[in-house]
Amino acid sequence: MIEQRWKRWVFFYIPLTLFIIGTLFPFYWMFVTAIRPDHELYRSWRAANNAPFWTLQPTLAHFQDLLARTTFPRWLWNTFFIAVASTGISLFCGLLAGYALARLRFPMAGALGTSIFVTYLVPPTLLFIPLADIIREFHLGNTPWALILTYPTFLIPFCTWLLMGYFKTIPKELEECARIDGATRLGAMVRIIFPIAIPGILSAGIFAFTLSWNEFIYALIFLSSPERKTVPVGVVSELIRGDIYFWGQLMAGALLGSIPVALVYSFFVEYYVTGLTGSVKG
């Protein structure tokens, strides 16, 4: 009995607590920095009554500054629009490709599946060079479309793989039965398979949304004017001037920028978990 209890502490509670602290501390730090007044931020570490882990004079000045002096709301909108559009495109393609790879028997299906996965492994830091060329050819530079059309290069393989795995967990008899019952292949897919696959589709969507929301490299390279930027790029490029870091505004921007993603996650967390563990019971 006693031994059991210490085992629980050593192997469960203590590691879990450390893990939670490790994950949440950056957010806490971000929050504290965002509401800390400037005179606390920029004083010496060894100053009298320095309290690095909390503040007694919280202020919203950095938020006001962020909203008034930069085009932050604009960035937020850009990021949102780009993320939604590229997620939509990628989900649509991923659904169809994932279904085809999971269900249809055609020559080279296996090889095709693998090669789609391999494209996901090509690092964006390499891919942006040829992509920049293409963006220029099509005169898309400095428009949202530069990102909406390039994000799917990594989102589609990702969605395809996740959804393919999910479709494989759905018994194929379900759609066979639907096809006997009078549906076409497409009808069975839309009426039977997609509704069952909602957890999988949602988790692919959330992942894709988060990936494009946080994307940095392409956004940094393909967008140049300040009012066209996305949150991650805008915050970094407009709030670090030379070697001056506007820490308060930076953290305020980061905090506001992460709220939508956190909201999306918390709304769909249940679906999201079943989507990843993939279980459908008939």
Partner: protein, 365 residues
């Protein structure tokens, strides 16, 4: 109103044939059962009839139509799957109504048909539930209900009872048979690997092995006149005993020498067995065609066996016995008193003996 005709049907997966040269004529309103061991191609055959599996070569006719190139939805069939394949996101009612909705039936008609079928199957109180709130037996009924609301020309069943427990299986078996007799009057193709189900349900039974049809016939015909050793061993439980034997001639009559006995070949089979004179064959005898020897049995049909296991089943007793290096199962009356390690005298019922060619495994009769 439809017969189903399969002509030279073949299915090749990669380089292996799952179904080979199958020819079947399933008559209108017939209950046809496909039976065979796992992997023999029963499901594949059924799925080709349904249009779920592409046909490598051959023809499938339903009614008067050649349906090879028809998609499943246009074949006017219904299928019940082993895992039931109920749509998990729909209620029982919607599950049953799905096929009718797809065919654009008016709402009122859908409702009457679903209610009728539900009443028939005793699931009228479950219509608002989701499949995951049902027991295995109830799911099974819903799956059957979903198939019968459509009034299709042909029903296809792929091992629909194998996920049920033994008692429920027997009960559903009877119900299916009654349904077919009294209400449906439709052609049924039913796949199972359970030979008891095959025998009890089928008007006729097809025994398959390795993609090949071994024999087609009425249940009792398969039982009493198996065409080869495989069918003889597959149909019947416990399985038929096979004994090595040699055919010899003595004094103008043919005898089968086995177990140190000389069993006289019945006169009507002498002509077929004549060519096997002096050769080794296999003799087959069903457990119920061995009985405890009484005083009246002719001595050349009686032999002594060592009882190894006694399995009293109430209405009968199964004896696992050993004679020399041969094990024999006998099904004897419940009045027989014996224990393991005891000797017992058993007798053949001579006109129930089967003979099989050792090279072709064909029955010689």
């Amino acid at each position: 109103m439809a017969q189903v005709v399969l002509k030279d049907l073949n299915k090749k997966f990669d380089e292996v044939y799952a179904v080979k040269d199958v020819n079947l004529h399933i008559r209108d309103k017939e209950f046809m059962v496909l039976v065979g061991p796992s992997g023999c191609g029963k499901s594949t055959t059924l799925r080709m009839v349904a249009g779920l599996e592409e046909i490598t070569s051959g023809e499938v006719h339903i009614g008067e139509r050649l349906v090879n190139d028809l998609p499943p939805k246009d074949r006017d069939i219904a299928m019940v799957f082993q895992n039931y394949a109920l749509y998990p996101h729909m209620t029982v009612y919607d599950n049953m109504a799905f096929g009718l909705k797809m065919r654009k039936f008016p709402k009122s008609e859908i409702e009457t048909r679903v209610k009728d079928a539900a009443t028939l199957l005793g699931i009228q109180d479950l219509l608002k539930r989701k499949p995951r709130q049902l027991s295995g037996g109830q799911r099974q009924r819903v799956a059957v209900g979903r198939a019968i609301v459509r009034h299709p020309q042909v029903f296809l069943f792929d091992e629909p009872l194998s996920n049920l427990d033994a008692k429920l299986r027997v009960q559903m078996r009877v119900e299916l048979k009654r349904l077919h007799h009294d209400r449906l009057e439709t052609t049924v193709i039913y796949v199972t690997h359970d030979q008891v189900e095959a025998m009890t349900l089928g008007d006729r039974v097809v025994v398959m092995k390795d993609g090949l049809v071994q024999q087609v016939g009425e249940p009792l015909e398969l039982y009493s006149k198996p065409r080869n050793k495989f069918v003889a061993g597959f149909i019947g439980s416990p399985a038929m005993n096979f004994i090595d034997t040699t055919i010899v001639e003595a004094g103008g009559a043919l005898y089968a020498e086995a177990l140190g006995l000389r069993v006289r070949v019945p006169p009507d089979r002498v002509s077929r067995l004549g060519p096997y004179k002096g050769r080794a064959m296999t003799l087959g005898i069903r457990p119920e065609d061995l009985r405890e020897a009484g005083g009246g049995d002719p001595q050349d049909l009686v032999f002594e066996a060592l009882v190894e296991v006694v399995e009293p089943l109430g209405s009968e007793i199964l004896l696992d016995t050993r004679v020399g290096n041969q094990t024999l199962v006998a099904r004897v009356d419940p009045t027989v008193r014996t224990r393991h390690h005891q000797k017992i005298r058993l007798a053949f019922v001579p006109d129930r003996i089967h003979f099989f060619d050792n090279t072709t495994d064909e029955a010689i009769a």
